[in-house]
């Protein structure tokens, strides 16, 4: 495909809008940190900050009184806490997917969204990690989950999926940060070289470690970047598989399901792309110049990925139902019947609507190119994925093996406050990121431009024929 484009035989939908030069790319993106930010930014940041304070308050109450302030009970030992954990971590996955897997797959269109998506990943994982940390009865001894010698002389119990979570999530977070930061280094150098104020120069200078664009450095940079990408790919798959094992390892009907790992990963990517869209569309409005780099083609591609993963997820639901009835296991059968027609039936059918029915609209090009429609769909999908976790966590637990132990679950004000709070935190961080960090990977964009059009100046459109053959993958093409 790419060769064809370069050969000029196929006209690929533009990954850039309008005339670009290396200079322009740098200026457009690199100057954002130095420009006056739009009023919309202030509003959104304010909202996010309010949410964050709410979160802090909710957590204080939690530490003061105990998890009793939440709706959890026997038999439903996990409620909003774990639902939100899975929801957030799922959202995070899109970032890594875009930056790593699409890189390996040489998807040129990833260039303009990967930095953004990676940032989203990091903040989403922060929100996610919060929940398992505070959902315990005694958060102040959470460190017992880490393999460090303690006064009890006992080690963690490595057979527990929760222990795997500790390793998976922390590793995932670390690697995501490294990956993200590494990609940032050259761009921070660019910022440094443009910075007017001394302070900005110093800060960006320190953060860019004195990067000087040396060809040899670039070479090592790329092999390291590529290796990180190669590692992140199995990592991102493993992380959500491990999360799914939190349930699959148990014996609870509705949890003990063999298809969970793939079906969770698909769900994660699904919700992740939904979240990217939810963010990108407003950002394009807030920062109009981003439209030159995040074109309708990008949005179209993301919508397609959503559609694909959405179909996988929907297949997962159908399989669950099928297993339930086909297994001839009384517990499984009751579990699925209870999901569909039990006290929580509305949740299940809402889930089917959000994740099964609505995404079908994405089959239509018109829908994929209608921003507002797409925005609403992505919101619905986010809701749907949350409902999916609710069905899995709560509806499976509230009626399991022993009828005498059955019960109902309802969230309290504090459950909601904590959840809303994390959303606020997420928004706040995203807008801080947009404000102070180059939102798009400039170097990679220039590289892409060079790949596609082979020169730094002028006449857009017709590709240069004798551009060097694309064997290098660091830039992505």
């Amino acid at each position: 495909m790419q060769e064809a484009i370069r050969a000029g035989t196929v006209q690929e939908p533009p990954l850039f809008e309008g005339e670009q030069t290396y200079e322009r790319i740098t200026a457009q993106i690199g100057d954002i940190p130095f420009e006056k930010h739009p009023i919309g930014w202030t509003v959104m940041f304010g909202l996010g900050f309010t949410g964050t304070t709410l979160l802090v308050f909710a957590l204080c109450m939690l530490l003061l009184w105990g998890v009793g302030i939440w709706g959890v009970n026997q038999p439903v030992g996990w409620g909003f806490d774990i639902i939100n954990f899975v929801w957030w971590i799922g959202i995070g996955h899109a970032g890594t997917l875009i930056s790593a897997i699409l890189l390996l797959l040489r998807q040129g269109w990833r260039m303009s969204i990967n930095r953004f998506a990676e940032a989203m990943t990091i903040f989403a994982v922060m929100c996610a990690g919060l929940f398992p940390a505070v959902h315990t009865g005694r958060p102040w001894v959470d460190y017992w989950l880490l393999p460090i010698p303690n006064w009890l002389a006992v080690w963690p119990q490595f057979r527990s999926p929760l222990e795997w979570d500790v390793f998976a999530v922390s590793t995932y977070f670390t690697v995501s940060v490294l990956f993200w930061y590494m990609g940032l280094i050259p761009d921070l150098a660019a910022v440094r070289d443009r910075a007017k104020s001394h302070l900005a120069k110093v800060i960006s200078g320190i953060l860019s470690w004195g990067w000087r664009n040396s060809a040899v450095h670039w070479m090592r940079f790329e092999s390291a970047y590529l290796l990180l990408a190669g590692l992140s790919t199995p990592l991102v798959l493993s992380v959500h598989s491990v999360v799914s094992l939190d349930f699959a390892i148990s014996i609870v009907p509705g949890w003990h399901v063999t298809i969970f790992p793939p079906y969770f990963v698909a769900g994660a990517i699904y919700s992740g792309f939904a979240m990217v869209l939810t963010l990108v569309i407003p950002f394009r409005i807030l920062y109009p110049k981003l439209r030159e780099y995040i074109t309708m083609h990008h949005i179209d591609m993301m919508a397609k990925v959503m559609l694909a993963t959405g179909l996988i997820v929907f297949y997962g639901y159908m399989m669950e139902a099928f297993f339930g009835f086909y297994s001839a296991n009384m517990f499984e059968k009751y579990m699925i019947t209870n999901r569909m027609f039990g006290p929580y039936w509305p949740v299940y059918w809402a889930l089917i609507f959000c994740n099964g029915v609505v995404p079908q609209l994405l089959w239509f090009r018109k829908v994929r190119h209608h921003l507002w429609l797409l925005f609403i769909i992505s919101l619905i999908v986010n809701v749907g994925m949350w409902l999916e976790r609710f069905v899995i966590v709560v509806v499976s637990l509230h009626r399991d093996f022993t009828p005498s132990g059955w019960g109902m679950y309802g969230p309290t004000i504090w459950d909601v406050a904590t959840y809303v709070g994390t959303i606020g935190f997420f928004v706040m961080m995203m807008f801080l990121f947009a404000r102070f960090v180059p939102m798009l990977a400039m170097a990679e964009l220039k590289d892409l431009w060079y790949r596609l059009y082979g020169h730094g100046g002028g006449h857009n459109g017709h590709a240069k024929t004798e551009a060097p053959a694309p064997t290098r993958t660091g830039g992505g093409v």
């Binding site: 057979r159 929760l162 637990l397 399991d400 022993t402």
Partner: protein, 1012 residues
Amino acid sequence: MEKRDNERLWRSLNERENAPQLKEQLQREFAPEAAPHSNLVSRRQFLKLMGASMALAGLSACGYKPQGPIIARAKIPEEAPGESLYYATAVTLGGYAKGVLARVYEGRPIKLEGNELHPASLGSTDAFTQAEILNLYDPDRSQSLLKFGQIQTWQAFTGELMQQLTLQQAKKGSGIRLLTEVITSPSLAAQIQTFLKTYPQAKWYQWEAINRDHVYEGTRLAFGEWLNPIYRVRQAKVILALDSDFLFLGPAAVRYAREFADGRRVRENQHQMNRLYVAEPMPTVTGFTADHRLPIHSSRIGLLAAAIAQAVGAPLQVTMQGELTPEERRWAEVVARDLIAHKGESLIIVGEAQPPAVHAIAHAINAALGNLGKTVVFTAPPEAEPTLCTEDIRTLAKEIAEGQVEVLIMLGTNPAYDALADLNFAELIPKVPFSVHLSRYTDETSALCVWHVPESHPFETWGDARAFDGTVTIQQPLIFPLYPNTRSALELMAQINGQGGKQAFDLVQGYWKTASLAPAAQFDALWRQSVHDGVIPRTALPIKSVRLRPNLAVELPPVEAQGLEIRFAPDPTMYDGRFANNTWLQELPKPVSRICWDNVAFMSLKTAQELGVVGTEKVALVHDSAPLVQIRVNGRTLIAAAYPIPGHVDNAITLHLGYGRTRAGSNGSGTGFNAYTLRISDAMWFTHNAEVVTTGQRYTIARTEEHHLIEHGELDSLHHRPIMLIGTLQEFQQDPHLKKHRHGESGELPSMYKGFQYDRYQNPNNYRYAWAMVIDPTVCTGCSACVTACQAENNIPVVGKQEVVRQREMFWLRIDRYFKGPVENPRTYQLPVPCMQCENAPCELVCPVAATVHSEEGLNQMVYNRCVGTRYCSNNCPYKVRRFNYYRYAYYKQPVLHLLQNPDVTVRGRGVMEKCTYCVQRINRARIQAKKENRRIRDGEIIPACQQACPTKAIVFGDLNDPDSEVSRLRREPHLFSMLEELNTRPRTTYLAKLENPNPELHTEAHNAGSH
């Protein structure tokens, strides 16, 4: 001493100042809308204040050692630090003694066990007895004399009292009335008699809201005198209980339950099984246990009895109105045939709620069947002064109204609350110029009296009491009175009789010296033995030979065919309301309904729908709120929550007495609805033509088990799950393994792991135990004694109504209840569910911090101080037996409650998971003992709290690696069954099949349904 009194006085006043604001915080605590933490706030503050005052008022002052020579069970020297001593004594309910062994740890009683030497206990207890220990330490107990609510000194009180009495001396005490509970205590009775000698015109009345008047009247009708029937349940092959909960309530319930169970234990080589028929309006423990249960109005029981009497040819005429329905008639005939087939080994028992005539009919039937002297014998009433409580209270009310009563001395009763509504006792008491009330709480009656005298707890002083068969127990004190101003009834009477100087010990022993039990020479030996054993030998009343009166004729009260029937019954946990402030009993799920902290208006689902209080929607009862209805009967009204329960007879409402108290204490006040307000002397137990009006409001109800089953038109909460193995005796005889009822793969499943080997010897000279438990649901009646015993033994906190509503109750042991068959009259199956101690424990695998691991003896151990509280273990427990401290439940600021706690068991903090441990502290005690004596732990040496309390001995614990242990033998029984076997958790707690012995002639669908 005087100085101390002053100090106390001040400190108590200090406490009194806090009182109002405490009350107000209390209301907030129980307000349904209160946020959970906010109600904790109020609880905390409440505890702080109470605690402070408590610390000063009582404990700091005195050591624990009681006065008088008390005698422990063990040989070891008393006062052994760290060692517990067991003392025999008794607790009384309705006047009747139940023998107990109190475990006293370093001077403080912490647990009650049954006294195997006592006829009413046989080593077991009921829930009331288990909870009695909490009554002792109840922080709300009254501590000081009050005159019109103002604190006074003893000097002031005795002064005024004596002055009043001297005034009365002139008229031989014609103005003095004595109102007591039913009294069996010989020494107290003697004191009262002395008093009555001094004041010949004075009168002594007794009142129990739950009394046995009808039983005595019944015997008078049948035999011409008041007699005390004693049933030999063990000898009975066929038992018919008419509106009688004899397995659960009554002075001999524990013994009857044991005897009943003994006639019912089916083993591979023991196929004998008695058969129980029960006819009753509202399901009871006995009804749930029955092989055949007939829902029928209390007012129609008489007709049923008469029909059976006729069928067995009982020698009496019955004049009656009303007709049995065809089904009832058929039932009666079948039962009658079965009874006739078992002449001499059958038994008819009638409940105290039934009118005397029905009792008489039952006696006649027993006579006709030749059961007299075999399965039922008679003695004289064990009360010191047998009387008809209803008559007494009525006369007293009349006399007060007529102004004849000038001095009213009340010992321990609470008529202002539980007297019959039409007597308006609450308005009468203030009419008495000089009223004295001795009671453990400043309750409804105290509030109306001139003087309130704080009563000491039986465990604080000497006393004596008779059991249902007259056997006397000397109650020895276990602890020095917690509060210096309290007196027992005996001490008070002695003081009135001018023996104020005497110690309670001298009073009691003095009485028995004169009672000429034995020649003076041997008295001391006899005394020592009696106190040590907890029973005075040869004090059981002699069996009387009785003859039915010739040409006996009885008349049944007329039966209103139509009209809603209201049935009053003692509450399964509050009894008549005296336990209202006992949080253990408040939170204990009621044996039948699984409701706690409230009583409700029980009715059948059909009736509820007819009255429009329950919608016809399928999931009517999933919600935790029930509709409030107004019940109007005999011109009185009561607002109560309507609550449908399976198996209740249609067109009737059952109200449990004992709730709706206003001055029970911080925990009891304001819970439930006061059914006494509808209870009048003409209709003490049931009445008719009630109207029910819906109010449109709803009331939150705390239940530990949902009726979600009602979603399915037919009750079948087992959902064909392998939770119980159920079969009939017949099926067992054909195939002891009951194969056709088992399903799911059983036995070993292939595993990729070798797994842990629990063999007898790690190395040859080091024997390894393998603890296990077998439970026999066939004999379990669901009486819940084990639950309270577990709570007492393991320091299990009470969480309060709000938390129970949020499904956070903490019981380590629960009793599951499953229905099967039609909602009108389902079969009921119950089984106690402790931790299964799975060998392949799902909970352990998922704990990230190894806070729950397996001991090499097979115990699934919970390491509290390692637990982080992820709750994953609970999620992954298929039996849902794990409990989590969502808040800091076990947080008692009151030092007096600290005295209660078992030093062998950790008190769990906030955020920690907990569960049944097989009473590991008892295992370790035995292990230490065995090590000391350099031997193995003997079979039966370790008895977990639940097993020890169980009246029917349905629970057996022991060592699997010892092939001769009882538990091993039971594990070899063919009808052994492990819950959810197919999950291959390999539980150490296993069950025998629940066997029923249905009469083929009545063999219903339900029984067939019973089999899967």
